[in-house]
């Protein structure tokens, strides 16, 4: 297993958000975390990253317990994180955003390079010298993903990859995520776009009210009308 999350409980201040989430992601899989607004998807990813540490439960990355580790240690152990709101470094150029992540990578054997990210997202090549703060939302989205890959992660956590993208870009992104998986990076993504998840993910978990309600192969989830109606339809 690349990622094993076992019964984590996470709070924001006094409010309980994750009430015992458990899930697993195997090597080479693309796994989607689905659920309505406010279901706890982002919080799950933030818990794994150590940004909002769980109060209890266990999270293992490649068998190593990471609860209690701070985010830069989690990153060093091999998780790349692309947040929903992108968080591009605005004073760094596109290329510097990528280079810095590559420089910080503790997994030097990984083979992600700036050139390879540009091949995956050719639009980024055209804006390589532009400051991150001046990129469009879509460009930032791709840069956030490229930046996560530059850390040469064993596992990429991608929050809302398709949110706010034009349909054409969504299709390109879906293709990119398959490509990323083919390079050996395991992907765990959170998205509300069911169609996008069908194109990208092998397996899905459905989260609601802070716990996992259901899990299955992605195509089974979509064929199960009852489940889709109950947990996903907007």
């Amino acid at each position: 297993m690349v990622l094993e999350v076992n019964d984590i409980v996470t709070f924001y201040g006094q409010s309980l958000v994750l009430d015992g989430v458990s899930l697993e992601v195997d090597k080479g899989e693309v796994v989607a975390l689905l659920g309505r607004n406010g279901a706890g998807k982002t919080t799950t990813l933030r818990s794994v990253m150590g940004l909002t540490p769980p109060r209890s439960g266990s999270i293992k990355l490649l068998g190593i317990e990471i609860v209690g580790k701070v985010p830069f240690q989690v990153a060093a152990l091999g998780i790349g994180y692309a947040p929903d709101d992108r968080r591009i470094f605005p004073d760094l150029t596109t290329e510097e955003n990528l280079l810095l992540a590559g420089h910080l990578s503790k997994r030097k054997n990984g083979d992600w390079s700036v050139e390879r990210v540009y091949n995956l997202f050719p639009v980024l090549r055209d804006v390589r010298t532009r400051k991150g703060g001046f990129l469009s939302g879509g460009e930032q989205k791709m840069l956030a993903l490229g930046r996560a890959l530059m850390t040469n992660p064993a596992l990429a956590l991608i929050d809302e990859p398709s949110e706010g993208l034009a349909p054409l870009m969504v299709a390109a992104l879906a293709k990119a995520i398959r490509e990323i998986r083919d390079t050996g990076v395991t992907v765990f993504l959170a998205d509300q776009n069911v169609r996008f998840c069908r194109k990208t993910a092998d397996r899905g978990y459905i989260i609601e009210k802070g716990t996992i309600q259901y899990q299955d192969a992605m195509k089974n989830i979509l064929e199960n009308e009852e489940i889709v109606k109950k947990y996903l339809v907007v």
Binding site: L51, F72, F89
Partner: protein
């Protein structure tokens, strides 16, 4: 005209002290988000350390500069590591209270160690003398200060724009959490950034000792000028700190020549006008 040029050059050399203090203030604020009211005290400690090693221990000028940097660096390290670190996530009032407390501590510390006597500076023999500029004798040391200030500006520029460390500072300055999540050891980076800021203040303080007196109140005086500079230039902007220091230094010097006695009035007027026209300062929002 020659009066004007001569006095503008004098102003330029005082501008460099303002710049060095404002630069450190800007780094600490821009990266760590700490508004360090005690930053002038780090300047003062730099001055006292340089004075001590030069005049009392008899080290040469350059070694006393190094001595001052090491001393202030250690103080900066202790301040960040044991105090400031605890209040990064607290409201800004906590920063003001804590760093103001440091002013009092440093003021009294200098009184306890060095006494209340005014310290009369001596010029290192290396820099004694003058050179003629527009037909008048201009102190070599002031010229040196101008070069030193510009050199420090260039060094900071290179560090920020051409080194990995500078790239980390720029990343963490605006996206602290994300910087952490791609693998930057934020607590360590912040300690280093604060020490760097302390070193900038200490260079200013140490370089001031041959021409200015050290006294235990200088920290508070210096920080007020530095605030004026950063308000004009834009808090958080190094370019702004540099330009603001030039404006205050040169215009201040020219005022003492042409309109003596209302010099301070003019400087605060400039600040007020900038605040009315551009409340974020000349380069506010840029870095």
């Amino acid at each position: 005209m020659s009066n004007f040029i001569f006095q503008a050059l004098n102003g330029l050399s005082s501008a460099m002290f303002l710049w060095l203090v404002a630069a450190g203030l800007t780094v600490a604020f821009g990266v760590c988000g700490i508004l360090n009211v005690a930053h002038g005290s780090l300047y003062m400690m730099g001055a006292y350390f340089a004075f001590t090693s030069f005049q009392i221990l008899g080290l040469n000028f350059w070694l006393s500069l190094v001595f001052a940097l090491i001393g202030a660096g250690i103080i900066g390290f202790l301040m960040e590591r044991f105090f400031l670190r605890r209040i990064y996530d607290q409201p800004i009032e906590f920063q003001l209270i804590l760093t103001f407390a440091f002013i009092l501590v440093f003021d009294n510390l200098t009184k306890m160690i060095w006494g209340t006597m005014l310290i009369i500076p001596t010029m290192p023999s290396l820099f004694q003398g003058t050179i003629p500029i527009v037909g008048r004798p201009f102190p070599i040391y002031n010229l040196f200060i101008i070069f030193a200030g510009i050199a420090v500006a260039l060094i900071i520029w290179v560090i920020l724009n051409k080194t990995w460390w500078g790239m980390k500072l720029r990343a963490a300055a605006s996206q602290r959490e994300m910087a952490n999540a791609i693998g930057i050891n934020i607590p360590m980076l912040f300690t280093a950034a604060f020490v760097f800021a302390a070193l900038l203040a200490a260079i200013g303080g140490a370089l001031s000792t041959p021409i200015r007196v050290c006294d235990s109140g200088v920290g508070g005086a210096v920080i007020i000028q530095a605030f004026v500079v950063t308000v004009i230039g834009g808090l958080g902007s190094l370019k702004g700190a540099f330009v603001g220091a030039l404006i205050i230094g040169v215009i201040g010097a020219l005022c003492t020549l042409y309109v003596p006695f209302i010099e301070l009035f003019v400087l605060y007027l400039i600040m007020a006008v900038v605040l009315i026209i551009r409340p974020q300062g000349l380069f506010g929002g840029e870095r």
